[in-house]
Symmetry: C2
Subunit: 535 residues, 2 copies
């Protein structure tokens, strides 16, 4: 879950197949475009809501990012706000698992996280694009310090069990070689006069000049063994100081090998808007945002409150809920208005009296499967042995991603890797396993890339999002078709109820979708309130 | 000076012209290759030097990185070490200017740095490639914490005063559009059968599939306005949450405009081995490394010691020096061996009795000009107004680079930008100005990119390396020809004197060159010592 890269990874096809199966969506290509569109936020700093009638009450369901943004802004505008939250903590999918934490998933397995102090897994979102200005503005307001998140690491690996005998390749080499071959092919074609009629003579000259630089071509416009290409892909013997320090260039891979490996599929990841530099993360774990909101809203949030029914009438909304510590007894909360941020996967199962359009919309959005596994090792061998500082290794093994910490470089002692980040069919398979099995499998697969795993592994923790009792899935997957028919109906206020969350946005799975949908929804509720008061 | 990017920036041609003029080097293209080759270090952790005869003394000239690495290792091996350093501080070009610091340059101008606490300019090196394992290993040993340095920022600018009416373009857009057009041209060519005979049918299919993904082409293999291209280059209206949140795609620039702008020249910077991710920097400024070495070597370094003569004989080396606090009086230090790390620009002017080959080598290496300017502003407007978190803006204005801090994102209060990083002809011109004029000029040029400069600027500090009394230049520029004739002669031990520093390496301007050359030199001195002792 999370932000996130599900949508763009090498196994995109699996996800698309899954969507096809689950939602019966239209053309795959359209779905792919739809998934790919999550991008820069339309966020503008909210202008204060003016003129809230005294005593107007709003009940917010869910203390995730959407719910807490709404609570923060509505309280500021003078509303009386109460928030009901299922978990014992604020944040929802904004969450970091640390040593001492516990997590009980559907099915009853309880994990006790034993990470060393300072180490964590973000089961949900883990990256903040610099253009997600809504969520970033709350980080600033709440004093949550940010640091750079390393996405692309030229020294991390791209790996296919089926290519190069299963030997991981450095991202740097595949990246340089693909680009170099593309540049050489186009340069040759240009020189052979094959662009005549398409590109002016003058632009052909400029194109050749640019391709030489951009593709690291030699003076004959070839991408070939030499200092120029090695200065992109790396050397056989790197330059140094003193005597015998002259470098030896390396031999580029052939076009056929690069194309056949399929490893080029990892090359556009860092070019996608959401993964472009500079990506950010909160210092100490993504959960720091939820925690800061929780402190800010102290007294407003009732935790351990499991919503069981939502009933509106002409003057307000009554919500039934249970205290999960003392189940069986239904409590009630009532307010003039209700902002519901409960994921549709759960909301669809609750008694809720809204009109057919919103009800249909709630039912139209399946939830993506996703699994993350965090693995603690005795030492940061990826830095010590392999000189990998942050970034992500991509593999076609089911674990899909291995991500290295972007901070505390060279720290002595233990370290935690994101040992798997999967979705689609593999995620379903892993979700069916016990947490222990998931961790063991992640270690097994990962050791194909890092043989050190076997000796250095200590402890793992994992979240399979379809077993998460508060979301029952990772994020709402909108097909193009569902979006066209249902999205507006989902977002329109129904009586005294409005919905918000990533599912009510064009930024599926991203916290920015939660922020912007919450601001949009409370703005519209406020308009109605003010209009009603003056009527 | 420094690491550094001089060699690869958009104005590379100026540097090459300058080298041509100064050093009378051979073909430009060779020079360019030579400059471009600085890459991964050959560093292996040094095995301890065994069997140093008791009482053997080594005099080290210069407490820069090379000199301090040598002192650290030789002391450990049992040698009696003394270091003479011109400055009042350790580090040499490894240096951060902070509030309260002062710097007097040749010509007599003294600057008093007034930066706010925590802010700094690195006049010299500012980036640590992850593959420069020598310098990184000393960071680890000395406990200097590291963090990510952001090189490429898709949201920073590329700028030409002559393109797009002087309006800065986001890196993201130029990058996506160049790549997209290249992919489309090659895809079309392939579809038209123009690669027949060069590429197999099967590889042509794979090439098309890969270009579609890699270049963000649409289903017709065109790079055109739409969600797919906007998800690389950005949207006209970005997606958001709630109602009316549907995104609007943006219009890519045409091939002709991208090529004509020359802005593509900035696109390969982050692809160069030395600038590939993950780049690192010491927390708190590059100078933290020199400072840590200085603490480690306390008592071994004599500061304010200006070397005036180096004289060897059959049994040792005598060095004359002045205490810069009480000039006019020559002091002497003597040792069995001497490791000299004084830049060749200065060493060439000192009395020194070495053989003709080393003397010729010392004279053969001109020093590059470089100027940096640090500018303090009242607020971090680049983050607040422009959402630029770290990274570098490239311009064809003389300032060449504007670099944004990679840390303390969202910090309230003042911030410091690297407001100019220049070399070649522009650097000579700026070096001829007073520090005040340099700062004013940097503000003037920079305000063409960031109009906020005018209102927000507070204070600047600048180093023109040809006015640095301890280097008289930025780094040693080796032509291919000079390298072939003189490099080995520079590195060979001459009697009882050996040289080390970036100038004695294939990693010109990089600290890694200093580290590896120092380790190489002391290894060879040690061999001679041990051989002599057992003879």
């Amino acid at each position: 879950m999370g932000d996130d890269g599900c949508k763009f990874s090498m196994k995109r096809r699996d996800l698309l197949r899954m969507i096809g199966v689950t939602a019966g969506s239209a053309a795959m290509y359209q779905a792919m475009s739809s998934l790919g569109l999550a991008a820069e936020s339309t966020f503008k700093p909210p202008s204060p809501l003016q003129g809230a009638p005294k005593g107007t009450t709003v009940l917010i369901l869910g203390a995730g990012i959407a719910g807490m943004v709404a609570a923060y802004e509505l309280r500021q505008a003078g509303y009386q706000v109460q928030v009901l939250e299922y978990n014992h903590r604020p944040g929802g999918r904004n969450w970091s698992l640390r040593g001492g934490d516990r997590f009980t998933e559907l099915g009853g397995f309880t994990q006790h996280c034993q990470f060393a102090p300072g180490l964590y897994l973000n089961p949900g979102p883990w990256r903040l694009p610099h253009h997600h200005r809504g969520i970033l503005s709350y980080c600033k307001k709440l004093g949550v310090p940010l640091e750079a998140f390393v996405q692309v690491n030229h020294n991390a690996y791209v790996h296919s069990a089926k290519a190069f005998g299963g030997k991981p390749q450095r991202y740097r080499a595949i990246n340089a070689d693909y680009r170099g071959h593309v540049a050489e092919l186009l340069a040759k074609t240009t020189q052979q006069g094959k662009l005549e009629g398409q590109v002016t003579k003058e632009d052909q000259e400029r194109l050749l000049e640019s391709l030489r630089d951009w593709g690291a071509l030699d003076k004959n416009l070839a991408y070939a063994r030499g200092i120029t290409s090695s200065n992109r892909r790396g050397f056989d013997k790197d330059p140094g100081g003193g005597v015998s320090a002259r470098p030896l260039p390396s031999q580029p891979l052939g076009l056929h090998d690069v194309l056949g490996s399929g490893l080029w599929q990892a090359l556009s990841m860092g070019e996608i808007y959401e993964f472009q530099t500079t990506l950010l993360q909160p210092v100490g774990g993504m959960g720091r945002i939820g925690e800061a909101f929780g402190r800010e809203l102290q007294g407003l949030i009732r935790y351990d409150a499991k919503v069981t029914a939502i009933q509106q009438d002409a003057t307000g909304v009554t919500v039934g809920y249970e205290d999960t510590a003392t189940p069986g007894q239904t409590l009630h909360a009532r307010a003039d208005w209700c902002l519901c941020t409960i994921p549709l996967s759960i909301l669809g199962q609750l008694p809720l009296n809204v009109g057919q359009p919103m009800a249909d919309a709630i039912a139209a959005v399946p939830y993506a499967a996703s699994v993350k596994v965090g693995l603690q090792f005795k030492r940061r061998f990826w830095e010590e042995d392999e000189h990998i500082y942050g970034g992500i290794t991509y593999t076609d093994l089911p674990i899909s991603n291995i991500s290295y910490p972007s901070t505390d470089f060279h720290a002595a002692g233990k370290g935690v890797l994101l040992g798997a980040y999967m979705w689609g069919l593999d995620a379903y398979e892993f979700t069916a396993m016990t947490p222990d099995q998931r961790v063991r499998k992640a270690v097994e697969y990962g050791s194909q890339i890092h043989p050190q795993y076997t000796r250095e592994f200590e402890h793992g923790v994992t979240v399979g999002w379809h077993r998460s009792p508060f979301t029952m899935g990772c994020f709402g997957v909108w097909s193009e078709e569902a979006r066209a028919r249902h999205y507006d109906n989902l977002c329109q206020i129904d009586g005294r109820i409005a919905l918000a969350g990533e599912h009510a946005s064009y930024l599926p799975a991203w916290q920015e979708g939660a922020v912007t949908s919450a601001l949009d929804a409370i703005g519209r509720i406020h308009q109605r309130v003010v209009a009603g008061a003056s009527a």
